[in-house]
Symmetry: C2
Subunit: 797 residues, 2 copies
């Protein structure tokens, strides 16, 4: 399948020295708290009291680390590695310590005996180093605890980085996950001209945790067929427990060389064809299938049971070493089998042989700038909003599709980044459905597959990525922003839940990275959730779920932001803002359907900057005294129903002083102590009052507002309406009626909560009930909304 | 690849009549509100005012419906079909109407002109039929709105149904998703002896929404290689717009016959080998790749633009028909192209030719019992809990691993269902890690792959399914319970989020099914979330997320239940309960680590039945008067910290009357109006008081308790501690300290909220602060918890 590399014996020995050093350092991280160089016989007190960590995949990851080093040095490649099996962190920590980057980031981890011991002691210890490839680990862009995303992250990193090689190590367990299974097809979206290369290394050591893995137990021809079906040209390298190390080094070096030569060839060809206007075809990119024994080079048997090459080596392969002299001896033999005295001098400094394969400077895997994307990120050239803002004559006097208006801004952003290529949109084939298709005048949907004459807006260099896998969209975008670029994920609101766990992990990454001084701030991860719960007229209940907001707001407040712009201009302002932020996860929920324009651009700017505020023009307050009631709203549909309720009250109960409050930045509702965007109590009370009835129409689950505002003075007077799972295939107005958030219900709520309004109010309440009854009959008979609802306009508009 | 079936011309014509009838009925569902049989010329007023629905995949789904009918009739097979593209509901609705099942379930949908018109009018209309294959649709076990789960559902349905054929239609869009990509490998878990067969039909019509799909644009050899790599033997059937229908019917009938013959052969061989003790091997199961034009037989061009066989036929292919006479004429021509007058008599009854392929009785796809699993479900033979309960000497006088205790009960359940085979466990390779491995004495891990001598607990007929894909676990279990069986999904707590969206969709299914009178109650979907947030000593932050509870509690209260048993016996009682319930989604969170035993079996039974209650033995109340303070807790770790705090208060502030309340059934906290398990206010107040300080230690995000209890009298005195994303790789006690839920902090909270306790309390508070300070230093130095914490016991235990 490929030829062995012409490694000399000396070269093979030097690679092996590096690998042995990694294995030694990895094993010691699990066990030692003293005697790091084994200059004295191993005693129980040298061993940690609690043994924590994962040995199983570490030797294999170390092997990849060693050989990637060689490749970078030999080929002059700039490489980033995504370590899928995050459990194998000991190998990666060993690699970055050995190459010196760890010590440069953190003087406590210098490349000497003291730094080595510190590495051992801190691993998997409270206040020390995590047991996974977390942000603390130089060169890492993924944690690898929640498996499935390594390959998507790798492709995300490779997009628009034409000179970068991204190696993605995929373990047995991860290979079984859905997101990973889909991500193989990312090669249909990788442009050989403007993107870099991804080199997947499917690292099979046979087991996930306690079970064999599916891919490891496939007949080799079946696995080969699968990977070819995924569009790759696999190079197989297999090592058994007894394979001589030099043989493995030769095979693996040969496979890497072959892969890199092919990648270089395909890129050269594609770039030449592109320069001469030729037709592109999708290369069959190489990949490696690396089979090594689980826990390789570790204890072969423990108490008569096989450990190496079995699931028993997954975590700590040899336990009870402090209580059992035989086991302590076995541990010492194991550690000495790496011959540490050949690898390190008396001060713990690695020998020249060990370091022979290690690249220099920023080419070291722990130092590559792309793995610390904040070093590379640039401000986006965002256009002036004036170019796209809707001209407002009177509030509610016109209507637009907010996402379509935003599409204009995004189009110019794509144009302005045509050379820089540092902005992308991802989505599950919904750019057009979400009314953002203007962008296709500036860039295509990236596509390396075959095309037909009837296709539209497909192109090999396009920067909109559409695949019906929210996991791939999310993984790509994470990889893209983690390596210093910008992007936007536009999705149906309900289906954002598909990536809730991924989003949570990204928040955790950003939160942890805040404590790592050398990590530079990244562009934020931005969601535009549209086609939302209230407008699923023909998709119904399964497409109705506003709970992604709740999920995000459970996470670290330093990182999470939620915006509910009520119209086109506020959406523009919010989009402009989130695309400038750093190190946050921003969730923007906005409609794609016709929506009244409420604010001019300047008002929208001020309103969004404040995050919430009184819409004086919409209320009937008399200056100088508190209102009788507050109508609050957040979200486009709730805002429309609230303003309709306000207009009904203005007409029928003109003596009632109504204040209308709109909330864009949901975290403003929280106390300042719980979220950096939280409004101080005095300001909050000035807007919501301390004791007036507040009828709040909210886009999502109503209890979220209670949970955010439960410490506010006004909380006991707060009455929230929102989505409560009363979904169906039905009309827009029927949806708000079913969930008791319609204008008529809001008016009834106001009347019910404002004592002493008298007979007039009682009559109005009855009329509201009557309209709702009429609605029920009408929608069943006509399948449309009541004409008075469809034709409603804000007074004077 | 396979031979054409020897269909006679008459047989092909009859199949075509059925298919044309389906297409006619499907198209009419999108358009007509009158003139159902086109007995008069089509006029604008016959057309619906709002055109909603999806045409694109309907003709292809109809083709599968027709041919499955034939297969069932010819082969005498019992078949269930999982319709992946839920958008194609018109075809399925047409099929069940045509076979008469719809009319039997609902007399309004009888097989005559009136029932036909009702079908047309109700489709995608408010109060009518949903636009997806929702619970309203006979024969459906999945909604198909959120794509990705068809194949996993199909395998779930096939497990332990040896005589059932489950056909799974997978569309272009779904084929791109991660869960579907992984689910192909379900064949490594399908036992040819005790399970039925799954026949995947990859239905490629070229596009997802507005884009070509990845699988549709693969070169055929690449797709073939992919599917062979997945372990299937694909049979390809391709139709172009101009392919004569009879040719397609012959190819497809031939492919189905070939597939069914091979399935029968493989099952026969495997079952014979099993009977004679022979070695099993995994068959290369057949599957179909069916390529048909999108929107086939619909308008070829509209206003000069190609529609048939393009993405333009995804939804309504011909719009504006009521305003444009040409388009109205085009619609009429299209509908008449199916020759309805040949298909239906004057009363709308299908002709004999149309019905020739339709099976009889319960073999009809809409009538098959497995698709209405409640018809088949039986009570589980649950053993008496006495056999597994922990013997309690004194509260806290012993400790057990709760999940290990549960493992005993589950083992007996597996034994008791060995013949019935209607109980399964699924999980991502964590049965052993979650300390449930006792079950392997009763059943193996199901596994059809190759095995090695070092493997343990693998077997071809095992009923524990372990795959590192939460999506597959969830999809299998859903398919299994939807077809009338029982199961348990045991997972790491944090990674339940991976299937949050799937769980939400299952809740929606159950909620909708409540309104469908002919759907019988199903066994509940049960989660055991263990390896929870508080005990991730060596996995750290990425493995800490208790938010699945929050997600579930956002959903329909009729369906969702959350239980937090604090010890082994309460876990037994909760497990026993949830395994007996119907039509709910039960989330049980319980630890796998050593945990004090607090309640004997009888106390546990009473406590779990009440859902929450006062632990009088733990408090220092004086009978007859209200306590000074309430210490409440929910979850095993919070319970331990709360009891430790209670013991500190008992020792150091004995004059303080402390009440200890434990909550097992979280929904008890909600008002009765918001959840059927909600405790009436009077009972709630009797437990929590109306105004005493309540310090509540909660397993998850603390604000959830506020959201559940915000209407309770005591709410303003409620102070909740819980997980607030202060995660790390650290010791168990450091986790509670970081999140301010430790015993010392709880004592401080009590003191801070109970005025007038005097100098003694101030001194105690300072000592609590001091221990926390000492803890910080200790854990960093030793990597273990303070001895006084590790050695703590309940007084007298």
């Amino acid at each position: 399948m490929h030829t062995h590399s012409a490694l000399s014996d000396e070269e093979a020995a030097r690679l092996d020295a590096h690998w042995r050093a990694l294995n030694y350092l990895s094993a010691c991280q699990l066990y030692l708290r003293a005697n790091p160089l084994l200059r004295e016989p191993l005693r129980a007190e040298h061993v940690k009291p609690r043994l924590l960590g994962h040995w199983g995949s570490s030797p294999g990851l170390g092997l990849v680390y060693t050989h990637l080093n060689r490749v970078v040095r030999e080929h002059g490649t700039e490489a980033l590695c995504v370590w899928g099996p995050g459990h194998g962190a000991p190998a990666v920590l060993s690699g970055v310590w050995l190459e010196g980057t760890f010590g440069e980031y953190d003087p406590d981890r210098a490349r000497d005996a003291e730094g080595m011991l510190r590495l051992f002691r801190d691993f998997s210890q409270p206040g020390g180093l995590p047991s996974h490839t977390a942000p603390d680990v130089p060169g890492s862009i993924q944690e690898g605890g929640e498996l499935g995303y390594a390959l998507a992250h790798a492709y995300g990193a490779a997009f628009d980085n034409p000179d970068l090689l991204v190696c993605a190590v995929i373990g047995d367990g991860e290979a079984e996950t859905g997101p990973l299974a889909a991500s193989w097809h990312s090669n249909k979206f990788l442009d050989p001209v403007y993107d870099g290369a991804v080199l997947p290394v499917l690292h099979l050591n046979g087991y996930k945790i306690a079970n064999p893995s599916v891919p490891a137990r496939l007949p080799e021809d079946e696995l080969d067929s699968l990977l070819r079906g995924y569009g790759y040209d696999p190079l197989h390298v297999t090592a058994e427990p007894d394979t001589p190390p030099a043989e493995t080094h030769r095979s693996l070096a040969g496979a890497f060389d072959t892969a890199l030569e092919r990648i270089a060839l395909y890129q050269r060809e594609a770039r030449a064809r592109d320069g001469s206007g030729g037709v592109q075809h999708r290369p069959r990119w190489p990949m490696l299938v690396l089979r090594t024994p689980k826990g390789w080079t570790g204890p072969r048997y423990v108490s008569g049971k096989p450990v190496e090459d079995t699931w028993r080596s997954h975590q700590v392969p040899l336990t009870g070493v402090t209580e059992d002299a035989d086991r302590l001896r076995q541990l010492e033999e194991w550690l000495r089998s790496y011959r540490p005295e050949e690898l390190f001098d008396g001060d713990g400094r690695p020998s020249a042989d060990v370091l022979a394969c290690v690249p220099e400077g920023d080419r070291r895997l722990g130092a590559v700038a792309h793995a610390n994307g904040g070093r590379l990120v640039r401000e986006l050239p965002l256009p002036p909003l004036e170019r796209y803002a809707v001209q407002l004559k009177t509030p509610g006097g016109s209507s637009h599709e907010p996402t379509r208006v935003l599409g204009g801004l995004l189009t110019e952003l794509f144009e302005a980044t045509a050379e820089r290529r540092d902005f992308r949109m991802v989505g599950p084939d919904e750019t057009a459905s979400n009314h953002l298709d203007a962008v296709f005048s500036a860039t295509a949907r990236g596509w390396q597959g075959s095309t037909l004459g009837t296709d539209e807006d497909l192109g090999p260099h396009g920067r909109v990525l559409e695949v019906l896998s929210e996991h791939m969209c999310q993984g790509w975008l994470e990889g893209y922003v983690l390596t210093g670029r910008h992007g936007l994920f536009a999705s149906y609101e309900a289906f954002a839940h598909i990536v809730a766990s991924m989003a949570g992990q990204h928040v955790k990454w950003l939160q942890s990275a805040r404590d790592v001084p050398w990590r530079q701030p990244l562009a934020s991860l931005n969601y535009l959730l549209t086609s939302h719960a209230w407008r699923q007229d023909h998709n119904g209940f399964s497409h109705q779920d506003p709970g992604f907001i709740d999920h995000i707001l459970n996470k670290s407040p330093e990182v999470v932001r939620v915006y509910l712009p009520p119209d086109a201009n506020t959406l523009l302002c919010v989009a402009d803002h989130v695309l400038r932020t750093r190190d946050t996860v921003n969730v923007v929920v906005a409609g794609k359907q016709q929506c009244f324009d409420w604010l001019g651009l300047e008002e929208a700017r001020g309103h969004c900057a404040r995050g919430l505020g009184v819409w004086e023009w919409a209320g009937t307050e008399v200056g100088g005294r508190e209102p009788d009631v507050v109508l609050a709203c957040a979200g486009d549909v709730p805002t429309q129903e609230t303003l309709a309720a306000a207009s009904l009250l203005r007409e029928h109960l003109p003596q009632l002083a109504v204040r209308v409050v709109n909330v864009v930045d949901v975290a403003r509702l929280m106390p300042r102590t719980e979220h950096p965007h939280g409004l101080p109590d005095a300001e909050f009370d000035a807007v919501f009052t301390r004791d007036r009835p507040v009828v709040f129409a909210y886009h999502g689950y109503p209890w979220l507002v209670h949970r955010l505002a439960y410490r506010r003075a006004v909380h006991d007077s707060l009455h929230v309406r929102g989505y409560k799972e009363m979904g169906a295939t039905t009309t827009p107005f029927d949806m708000v009626v079913r969930n008791d958030m319609d204008r008529y219900r809001l008016v009834m709520d106001v009347i019910d909560r404002t004592p002493g309004l008298g007979a007039e109010a009682i009559g109005l309440r009855q009329r509201m009930e009557d309209v709702r009854t009429r609605h029920h009959a009408w929608v069943r008979e006509h399948g449309t909304d009541l004409p008075e609802v469809s034709e409603w306009r804000w007074p004077g508009a």
